[in-house]
Amino acid sequence: MTQHRRASEDDIAQYLSLFDKPVDAVLAIKEHLETRRSSVKQRIQSPAPDTPVIVSTRDLHRGYKIGKTQVDALRGVSIDIHQGEFVALTGPSGSGKSTLLQSIGGLDKPSSGTILVNGTDIAKLSDSKLSTFRNGTIGFVFQFFYLQPFLTVRQNIEVPGMFAGKTRSDRRLSVEQVAASVGLSERLEHMPSELSGGQMQRVAIARALLNQPKIILADEPTGNLDSANSHNIIELFDKIRQEFGTTIAIVTHDRAIASRVDREISLLDGKLA
């Protein structure tokens, strides 16, 4: 069940501007073809999921003030994400996609509405329980990786395990597993500064996987990567989903990436588009 929306005039103008230069025009055409191919493939390979709903939001509102201006980031968003599903939250800047992701992850509290994650209404959890929830149920991946520069790759991956209170030996075992999954077994003793951007994002993904979360939430995980690395990261997410059955939701602007997920949830002005 892929949700589509009509392109706005701005989107069309932005798209057409790519044709001002020959090289950009060629790339735009290639991307369009790729998107269409992917879209056709998806429709053939990913039927509507029949797995249980793991994330459910109903009439979600989130407003906040910037100076004297009231901003309504979410205005009655109701979505369901099924277990094992790989969804992309898309939309223009300010559409509320990151707010929705962070609300699902328990980082942000909605002004109203409900968020059921794995059967728990996380809007009602205390700060401490929310932390435990994030630590055990959610794995976060960020655009800027946020690795600890003075810890080795191994230690960086271990950090969520530290907050879970796991022993060092338990963590070591888990680190070996997730590092193998993301292809970093040989780099465990390296420092982050010795890695490429793609490798750093792999470390961040491994870190997110350490506590075997049910859901991975990634906020523009490829925003800081070139197209090859972006492609690889999306492949990695797909692999993780296959391997661990993890539900994955990513925020992205990248149409090519959005076209490669099971379902695209587009937002516009805080509402589903």
Binding site: D108, R134, Y146, F163
Partner: protein, 639 residues
């Protein structure tokens, strides 16, 4: 919750960022606390050394001297117009004049009543007769005052006065002040009165004697508790032919013929000098000369005659006195003999009658002079002079080791066992058990020496009996030991240290707070990420607490290194010069003792690291509490 080792792992990463700021914080905080540590180490060392040197003599005893003034009613301004005394003095005077007239008539000598000092004078302001200002000039006044007091004086009971305090014992100290004469040491074996009489102008010889006399303030028979700690050799009073005495260091040095060491003398030279003076002083004998008033008068007469005759030896018209006296040898303390008497029989008879007359009314005696032999058995501290121009070492020595023994001491235990012939009544009085008593009518007072069991008891007694007004009935002050003063110094040092610690802590809180606050602010994004991946608020608090403790430990290490280094430098600089001064000031028996200016037994040494850690944690709390209350989303958005 995060485990402690993991917390430390994450906290350590924060110490690896902003290294310049970190180094600056450690440097500034370290300098502040390093100086404080140095001050604590040095003051602790000084107090420790003072304790150690104090144990060498009577430094650990708590002794006071209570002066009883007999009450305000005996002050001159109160008795000068006392009608009872004024009337009685005039009555005694009248009786005296009449008795004198009768006796003069009997002896057949002339007596002029107007030459007898009058006891009273008219005071215009008061409009009545009052006693003459110089009471001692008139025997009638002295007798009247004495009679007045005898009827009213209640003996001062020191036991009763100190009964509410924890008194260990009452001590005896008799200031030797012969009633009718003077007792003085003979520097270089000579009578200074005779030597000085030969000197027309002050010169080096005179100066030399001034050095001696400034080192002698009097003689006391002192309780063994006060005197014996200074005794450096054994003495058998039963077979003795001299009186044991403890003199001061400066006098011994001078008597032994040592030139004063120059101020540039090295520590070793000073120590060697102390050692030599100590060793040689135990073989030292010092003669004292006692002369009663008549002996002094004759000696004075002889010296005046000698000068006069020398001055007029070429003057043929100069008529020599009819009785010529010979000045005794300056090392003899001998009697003043007549070498020429050209008086007629009649003149001699008249002189004899006048002497008899004076013996009756002025209680004159036959001239008496005694040369007394004293054996030095120990050295007591010399009085320390202190002036702003002296060195730091002089200042420490003078300030903290103020000489508590002004008099030369005869141990009372030895004195009591001495053969009677060594204790002439003319010099020592009937008994050596009384405390210092002066019966001068103008300022009647007696002094009582008390040893207390504890510093607290002595201090509370002193606080209750200190006199600052000048019109108190009693006045108490520390005596014979500076232990009480040192305890006050210790208290003062501790108060000063507390203030310095408070000020430094305040400044350090600002510095550390600012540094830690910046670090926490800089780490907001990281904190937000940690919160996103599951850190609880308490985990963040734990991480920053450990970060703060680790930062504090670095400051502590720097403080320890700097403080100890500074204290060692000060000790290395001052200890060699203070040690000889302390050895003399405390009359330490053990000459290998060092006055160390660094000590590690102050409780403040434990407080400093605790204070550093505590103020760092306090400084950390406000920014941290603000930080963990922030929404992590806001911090992550601020890219």
């Amino acid at each position: 919750m995060i485990r402690p080792l993991d917390t430390i792992t994450l906290a350590m990463t924060k110490l690896r960022i902003r290294k310049v700021r970190l180094a600056f914080t450690i440097l500034v905080s370290g300098l502040l606390f390093g100086l404080l540590l140095a001050v604590i180490l040095i003051s602790s060392g000084i107090l420790q050394s003072l304790d150690s040197f104090g144990r060498e003599n009577i430094g650990k005893k708590y002794i006071t001297a209570t002066t009883h003034f007999g009450g305000d009613e005996y002050q001159f301004y109160n008795i000068e117009s006392n009608n009872t005394i004024v009337t009685r003095a005039e009555q005694i005077h009248a009786e005296r004049i009449s008795a004198k007239k009768a006796e003069a008539k009997r002896l057949g000598i002339e007596f002029n009543p107007t030459e007898d000092p009058v006891p009273t004078e008219f005071n215009k302001d008061l409009g009545k007769k009052v006693l003459i200002e110089d009471l001692a000039q008139s025997p009638s006044v002295l007798q009247a005052v004495e009679e007045y007091r005898a009827g009213r004086d209640k003996p001062f009971d020191i036991d009763e006065h100190t009964k509410n305090y924890d008194v260990k014992r009452q001590l005896t100290e008799l200031f030797i002040q012969p009633e009718f004469g003077t007792l003085a040491p003979m520097p270089d074996g000579k009578e200074d009165a005779i030597v000085n009489a030969d000197v027309e102008q002050p010169n080096s010889a005179y100066q030399s004697f001034e050095d001696y006399t400034s080192s002698y303030n009097g003689l006391s028979v002192a309780d063994d508790v006060i005197s014996m700690p200074y005794a450096a050799k054994k003495f058998d009073p039963k077979t003795a032919d001299s009186i044991p005495i403890i003199i001061n260091y400066n006098y011994a040095e001078k008597t032994l013929g040592f030139e004063k060491l120059p101020s540039t003398a090295t520590a070793n030279e000073k120590l060697e000098r102390i050692r030599e003076v100590r060793e040689k002083s135990t073989n030292l004998q010092i003669d004292f000369c006692y002369r009663n008033n008549e002996s002094l008068a004759l000696l004075n007469e002889a010296m005046i005659q000698k000068k006069e005759m020398n001055k007029n030896k070429d003057d043929k018209e100069y008529v020599k006195p009819s009785v010529i006296y010979k000045v005794p040898a300056d090392n003899s303390c001998g009697s003043t003999e007549i070498i020429s008497d050209t008086r007629t029989t009649e003149e001699r008879n008249l002189a004899q009658k006048n002497e008899e007359f004076a013996r009756i009314f002025d209680k004159t005696q036959d001239p008496l002079q005694l040369k007394m032999k004293f054996e030095v058995i120990g050295l007591a501290p010399s009085a320390q002079s202190f002036s702003g121009t002296q060195s730091v070492a002089d200042g420490i020595s003078a300030l903290l080791a103020s000489a508590p023994v002004p008099n030369w001491l005869i141990p009372a235990g030895y004195f009591q066992q001495l053969p009677a012939e060594l204790k002439p009544v003319a010099v020592f009085g009937e008994s050596a058990t009384a405390t210092d008593v002066s019966k001068t009518p103008k300022a009647p007072y007696d002094v009582h020496i008390t040893e207390f069991s504890s510093l607290a008891a002595a201090k509370s007694y002193l606080e209750a009996n200190a006199c600052f007004s000048g019109t108190c009935e009693v006045s108490a002050q520390p005596h014979a030991t500076n232990s009480i003063i040192l305890a006050d110094v210790r208290g003062l040092v501790e108060t000063i240290l507390l203030w310095i610690t408070g000020i430094i802590s305040f400044v350090a809180i600002i510095i550390l707070g600012s540094m830690i606050g910046r670090t926490i602010a800089d780490g907001r994004k990281e904190t937000a990420v940690f919160r996103a991946i599951g850190a609880k608020r308490i985990d963040i608090v734990a991480i920053y607490s450990w970060y703060t403790i680790l930062l504090s430990l670095r400051v502590i290490v720097f403080v320890a290194l700097l403080g100890v280094l500074l204290a060692f430098i000060v000790n290395y600089w001052l200890s060699p010069s203070v040690t000889p001064m302390a050895l003399t000031a405390f009359s330490a028996q053990d000459l290998t003792k060092q006055f160390v200016l660094i000590g590690f037994n102050s409780p403040y040494l434990i407080y400093i690291p605790v204070i550093i850690i505590c103020i760092s944690l306090v400084a950390m709390l406000p920014p941290l509490l603000m930080s963990i209350r922030r929404n992590p989303i806001n911090d992550m958005r601020q890219e």
